[in-house]
């Protein structure tokens, strides 16, 4: 990745992070922590890796994204808006009655969303099915399946991983967002995942790890797994729940945040101002 690409992806990440903060603060509540931990991933996918056409969301040989950790919908909607799948004003309709942006993604409502998710574990199987179908149709498209570390509590994930490994489905890239926390606390305290990368290796996967806040590392990991033939592939993102906003990184219960105190709103306002200043500066700077 050259410096210009890195600059552009970091800028896109800042825009996604800004959108997430603004939309959730506007709504007054929402799944903040897990949306922020995948911001850099979304930037790399939509800014560089995905073969897509936002003007033609149904393009047959497009790459697919399945956000199995569906509660991170706001993180996804932000990048879809930035890429022009729909008008950014939609972001402020999140969770309103009649919205096309429900808390958890719905393929029948939102352009760019190929699979409905929200009941944890299920998206992994859907991604496997999409990959199976694409392969059967002779497509070379990739399926990116984004899974939460807490979501790994669900047995269905492991059914899927067996399936992907058995069929050596290297075109279904499993990305585990290891942000260390789930709703009730640290994953190690709620239901210890132990060493996720080693588990995936034991299941038969080729595994790469990447820092979740580094667009370079994420991109490099994706490039590496794309070289793997004849084996299922997985990237474990070493990420931070609430990433990119120190106040929210330090907030223990940040899975779902209510913007109902002066302190929280002041911290959010501050983060928004900082991101806006960064975006304004970087958007006009040249590497």
């Amino acid at each position: 990745m050259n410096q210009e690409q890195k600059h552009d992806l970091e800028l896109l990440a800042a825009k996604i992070r800004l959108d997430v903060l603004k939309m959730l603060q506007h709504r007054g509540y929402g799944h903040l922590g897990g949306s922020l931990s995948i911001v850099e991933l979304m930037s790399v996918l939509y800014g560089k890796q995905l073969h897509i056409d936002p003007k033609n969301p149904q393009m047959p040989d497009r790459d697919r994204v399945v956000l199995s950790k569906g509660h991170a919908g706001p993180g996804w909607y932000s990048v879809l808006a930035e890429k022009g799948y729909f008008d950014p004003s939609w972001l402020y309709t999140l969770n309103e009655g009649g919205t096309r942006l429900p808390s958890h993604p719905d393929r029948l409502k939102t352009p760019g969303v190929d699979m409905t998710t929200g009941s944890l574990g299920q998206g992994t199987s859907s991604a496997a099915g999409i990959a199976t179908g694409l392969k059967l149709k002779g497509s070379k498209a990739y399926v990116y399946c984004i899974v939460g570390d807490g979501e790994l509590n669900e047995g269905q994930c492991w059914e899927t991983f067996q399936y992907l490994a058995h069929y050596r489905m290297n075109h279904c890239i499993v990305i585990i967002d290891d942000n260390k926390k789930q709703l009730d606390g640290y994953t190690k305290d709620i239901m210890n995942p132990f060493d996720i990368a080693e588990k995936m290796k034991a299941f038969g996967f080729h595994v790469e790890t990447a820092k979740g806040n580094s667009v370079e590392a994420i991109d490099e990991a994706i490039e590496k797994v794309k070289q793997v033939q004849d084996q299922a592939v997985c990237i474990v993102l070493d990420s931070i729940k609430g990433a990119g906003v120190p106040y929210f990184e330090n907030m223990m219960a940040n899975h779902s945040v209510k913007f109902n105190t002066d302190e929280i709103n002041a911290a959010t306002d501050q983060a928004i101002q900082a991101l806006e200043a960064y975006i304004q500066k970087e958007a006009t700077s040249h590497v």
């Binding site: 399945v66 719905d106 393929r107 029948l108 190929d114 699979m115 409905t116 929200g118 009941s119 574990g121 299920q122 998206g123 992994t124 199987s125 859907s126 991604a127 496997a128 099915g129 999409i130 990959a131 199976t132 179908g133 694409l134 059967l136 149709k137 047995g155 269905q156 059914e159 899927t160 067996q162 399936y163 058995h166």
Partner: protein, 319 residues
């Protein structure tokens, strides 16, 4: 149009063979049809499909939840999946997957839940489903069918293959008695008035249709005039036919290889109640019991699902 078979004592082909043969026929002209099984491909004979279409039979292993999800994912890219496992594993074990990844997400999944109710035989209580219709009926816009025989099963499969959505068919794997002649056609959402009578109405489905016809014959020998409806399509339900046929009867009885909670009997009761049809009514089925081991013949008797049991229910209701 349908024609009743001339010899109701004869059995047709094994229903699993009919299922596979029908799929193979459809797959020859529709490359989007795929078959999935969860390590019961030998039991369903779905593995036979792999001999002709090796890439369109997908072995999912003993992972039913994943199998439903894989079906849903394949649907999003244009495939029409037909998946099989035993009835309880095809429904109650994977209900949320069918409900969300399938129906709610707007995907197409055709589900063959085999060996319903007493057909589970020696596999016993763990493999018995007497609640599959209740569950599947509660899924918005799902189609739920219970096949009376081999001819009807083949027709239902062909009809499902033409449609989008979640479709459930419960049917034995083994052979059952013929009801219809080859070439008979039906209509989803329309019950079949097999016999018209003035005293009693039996509404039934699945392979109990044959037993219901036996019962009707016996009752007619006792000077009772009996109507029999094959309500093979339990959802959408033929409300008009129920209203028309129930009115003025001395007794209306539903007869199902299913719990009386939530199945055909409940569906008919809802129609009668909501349409102010006051008629002596009884749901004849399984009441607050779990399955157990035994031959299907033994279990049919044990759970009081024979023609004779139905006759007793009707006579009690007429008293």
């Amino acid at each position: 149009m349908y024609k009743l078979t001339e010899d109701r004592t004869k059995k047709g082909k094994e229903l699993r063979t009919v299922f596979v043969d029908t799929l193979l026929k459809l797959m020859a002209t529709d490359e989007n049809i795929v078959a999935l099984d969860g390590d019961l491909g030998g039991a369903s004979k779905f593995t036979e499909i792999a001999k002709t279409y090796s890439d369109r039979f997908i072995q999912c292993g003993i992972s039913e939840a994943n199998m439903v999800g894989v079906s849903a994912g394949m649907s999003t890219v244009g495939f029409k999946p037909f998946m099989h496992t035993f009835g309880p594993f095809a429904t109650r074990r994977v209900y949320d997957q069918i409900y969300l990844s399938g129906a709610y997400a707007g995907n197409t999944i055709n589900i063959y839940g085999s060996d319903p109710g007493f057909c589970a035989g020696p596999n016993g209580g763990t493999h018995t489903t007497w609640e599959d219709v209740a569950l599947m009926r509660a899924i918005p816009n799902a189609i739920v069918c219970d096949a009376a025989d081999a001819v009807q099963l083949a027709w239902i499969i062909e009809e499902f293959a033409k449609r989008e959505g979640v479709h459930y068919i419960r049917a034995n794997r083994k052979a059952c008695r013929n009801v219809y002649q080859e070439g008979s056609t039906f209509e989803l959402g329309k019950g079949i008035l097999l016999k018209e009578g003035s005293d009693v109405l039996i509404i039934t489905a699945g392979q109990l249709v044959s037993d219901a016809l036996d019962c009707a014959q016996n009752l007619e020998k006792q000077n009772l005039s009996v109507s029999v409806i094959d309500m093979f399509c339990i959802k959408p339900l033929d409300v008009d036919l129920i209203i028309k046929e129930a009115k003025g009867k001395k007794a209306v009885v539903t007869f199902e290889n299913h719990s009386i909670t939530g199945g055909l009997g409940s569906a008919v009761a809802e129609v009668l109640a909501e349409n102010n049809i006051s008629v002596p009514f009884k749901r004849h089925g399984v009441n607050e019991r779990f399955g157990q081991v035994g031959t299907p013949e033994f279990l049919q008797k044990e759970f009081k699902l024979t023609a004779q049991d139905l006759e007793e229910t009707i006579k009690t209701l007429l008293k």
